[in-house]
């Protein structure tokens, strides 16, 4: 009824509503639909762009309105909020209880150092033009003018280390592949982001797929590889759609294929889907899977850089590692390595997850502390109860107690406190968590996901669940056995799955011993006798 008469004469207002899977999971599709419907009902023409997520996930669905002063954010906007927003004049950036002012001035956002995620949430991930308008493909253009050794040298000088978890210097890997003579080499992107608490790979692939494609193309130029595969987990169907659309656009515009930008250089790229196996995030297991086999870990050496996919020299890097390459080639190694501290250079996209009030993605230079992330960004726990433990680095990462929250985000600092940074996932638990249960889950997870190749992992994980069950049932003498078993897993496993499972188990035991001592020891029964009913709490045992 109260049509804004100026709306008709002025050009359509541009709105952004994310198509990111996390935003969709809380109703972004319904919100987008409601915006279009309500605009049509009011006779207002709007231009709706489906962007990636800005990473402030507690505000999703986040609707951004483009105003002369910049993009103004409203969120979380459900479909039911939409008529009220129109009524309040949100198309002009006017106040509303859900308004947060300019997106880039929001507390969660403005202190971030967005390098790898510079365009995520800003641009339209389906639009190559938008990518090009935001410094896209400048890194590739620069790389095409360099010889391969000079590209590798730039990556080495940037200090970029593998962001998948192992933190191996990317430049050294690339140099090895460059120096390996072969008729066919490959670039493989590890997009099997299986760690609980991590979603940066997914957000990047959905929000800015072109940057990953550009990074892989540069890796191909640097090492002489002409074929690339993105190994993507099946749990990310939206990322697959985004990647395949971007690959088709890049191919059509000559950024991929037989003759990249008229240089005569070739690079072909395809997406391959995983099938629900955590172990396939381990690089040699991933290569087996790409070859069409069971995802069983390979012995190393030979290194994948020398004998990788189909026995050929292969660059295998995580999504974030490869997606950080374009900005390094565009802005230079100095620009990138200026961020960070010690041997951890550049930025890390951290992910706040679990029981946290303001979960989401925070890209910061290395050096920020865990406490700043948990309270300044995260706002404490979602439940409002005290934070008791955080698990950093996925299911193989250590549980850290409050006394370690001042640890800076730095690979070496985390190693020093008996943890690991991994892929930058931070899972928060409040004081209702039972750390005995978490330790048992870690062993159970290892048993479920073990590839079965090495004995400590295959059998040790199952024995580990049994030992923890007996310990939790009150058999205190099992602690010694558990520590001994963890020692075997640490030193005897072929890969990180068995090798690192003791991290969550022992950190829980060391920092939260009280959770393992709840049950009264059933003195009558010897340890072995409790085995069949071990999963039952001690109360069930005869008194």
């Amino acid at each position: 009824m109260s049509h804004d008469s100026t709306a008709h004469s002025s050009p359509p207002v541009t709105l952004h509503v994310p198509r990111d899977a996390a935003a969709l999971s809380v109703g972004a599709e319904a919100t987008a639909h409601a915006l279009l419907t309500e605009a049509r009902r009011r006779g207002i023409s709007i231009n709706l762009i489906r962007n990636g997520s800005r990473g402030m996930l507690s505000f999703e669905p986040l609707v951004e309105v483009s105003t002369p002063a910049g993009r103004v954010a409203y969120g979380p906007v459900t479909a039911a909020d939409v008529p009220g927003l129109f009524e309040a004049g949100f198309l002009h950036g006017r106040p509303h209880p859900l308004a947060h002012g300019r997106t880039e001035e929001m507390d969660y956002f403005k202190q971030q150092e967005r390098l790898t995620f510079a365009r995520v949430g800003l641009t339209d991930p389906r639009s190559l033009e938008d990518y090009l308008a935001h410094r896209g493909y400048r890194g590739l253009t620069h790389a095409l003018a360099l010889d391969p050794a000079a590209i590798v040298e730039t990556i080495s000088a940037s200090g970029l280390r593998g962001r998948g978890g192992a933190a191996f210097p990317a430049g050294i890997k690339w140099k090895t592949v460059l120096g390996a003579p072969a008729a066919q080499k490959y670039v493989v992107c590890n997009a099997d982001e299986g760690d609980s608490g991590t979603f940066s790979d997914r957000m990047l692939m959905e929000g800015d797929p072109f940057v990953l494609i550009e990074g892989m193309t540069i890796a191909g130029l640097a090492t002489g590889a002409t074929r690339g595969y993105i190994y993507l987990r099946w749990e990310y169907p939206d990322a697959r759609v985004a990647l395949e659309a971007a690959i088709a656009s890049a191919m059509a515009a000559g950024y991929l294929g037989a003759d990249i930008l008229g240089s005569g250089r070739r690079f072909d790229l395809e997406v391959r889907m995983g099938a629900g196996a955590y172990i396939c995030g381990e690089e040699t297991s991933l290569l087996e899977s790409l070859e069409g086999k069971r995802g069983q870990v390979r012995f190393k050496p030979p290194l994948p850089a020398l004998k990788g996919l189909f026995g050929q020299p292969t660059v295998i890097n995580n999504v974030i590692t490869l997606a950080s390459v374009p900005i390094i080639m565009d802005r230079g190694a100095d620009y990138y390595q200026h961020f960070g501290l010690g041997r951890s250079r550049g930025t890390l996209p951290l992910q706040l997850a679990g029981n946290i009030k303001r979960g989401g993605l925070v890209e910061k230079a290395f050096g920020i502390t865990l406490r700043e992330l948990l309270y300044d960004y995260g706002g404490g726990s979602l439940s409002g109860r005290p934070i008791r433990a955080v698990q950093v680095g996925g299911p193989l990462g250590a549980y850290l107690p409050e006394s370690q929250f001042d640890t800076p985000i730095d690979y070496e600092a985390f190693t020093a406190v008996g943890g690991m940074l991994g892929h930058g996932g931070i899972v928060v638990f409040d004081d209702t968590v039972d750390m005995g249960t978490q330790a048992r889950y870690a062993m159970e997870f290892c048993a479920t996901e073990s590839c079965g190749k090495c004995t400590p992992c295959r059998i040790g994980s199952t024995r580990g669940v049994e030992v923890i069950d007996r310990l939790l049932a009150g058999h205190r003498d099992q602690e010694h056995l558990l520590r001994d078993l963890c020692d075997t897993l640490t030193h005897g496993s072929l890969c990180a799955l068995g090798g690192l499972t003791p991290y969550p188990v022992l950190s829980a035991l060391n920092h939260f011993p009280e959770d393992f001592l709840r049950s009264v020891p059933p003195d009558a029964a010897p340890p072995g006798a409790a085995q069949p009913g071990a999963a039952q709490p001690a109360a069930a045992a005869p008194a």
Binding site: S25, G354, V428
Partner: protein, 178 residues
């Protein structure tokens, strides 16, 4: 060479494709035909078959093995290694419930128990009406908005027990054409 008694050959292997109906056989043949030239094509073939049929029938294994020049054991080994592939028909909807730590921190364990109770099945089971198969999953990448479930290919976050009930009644509603 001469004078040997003729021996009757008893086939120990059944005809390839036995046990599949014509639609299933055509699907498997099409997937193999389209993909077998690609390097490492077994997983893409299995995905194509499962995506079209809802599962990879056991009877398809010899056919896939023959087409890709692999042994039956190799194909079986791959299918059984990966959690995602199934050899029994799924319900009309497959519901994956996240069991990983970030979802545990916001109540996933209670949601799992509720899901099993509501549907009256355990993991890997299918409801009697054939509407829903329940599967565990280890992380859906929605760790800041848990607990999460995936209904077919749709991710749903902040799933309370009430929200789960709504999702399931949508799945179990009749009058859906295929």
């Amino acid at each position: 060479m001469t004078g040997k008694p003729t021996r009757r050959v008893i086939p120990i292997q059944r005809e390839v494709g036995d046990g599949l109906d014509s639609r299933e056989r055509a699907t498997v043949a099409a997937a193999c035909g389209r993909l077998k030239a690609e390097a490492g094509s077994l997983l893409p073939v299995l995905h194509a078959v499962q995506s079209a049929l809802g599962h990879v029938p056991k009877a398809a294994v010899p056919m896939i093995a023959g087409e890709l020049n692999l042994s039956v054991a190799e194909v079986h080994g791959v299918i059984s290694f990966y959690h995602y592939f199934r050899t029994t028909p799924a319900g009309r909807h497959v519901v994956h419930v996240c069991r990983a730590e970030a979802c545990q921190a916001v109540g996933a364990t209670a949601l799992e128990a509720h899901a099993k109770r509501l549907l009256g099945i355990d993991y890997h089971g299918t409801t009697a009406d054939g509407a829903v198969s329940l599967e565990p999953v280890y992380c859906l990448g929605n760790c800041a908005l848990g607990p999460s479930v995936m209904v077919d290919e749709r991710l749903v976050g902040r799933v309370t027990t009430g929200r789960f009930d709504e999702l399931m009644s949508d799945c179990r509603a009749p009058a859906e054409s295929s």
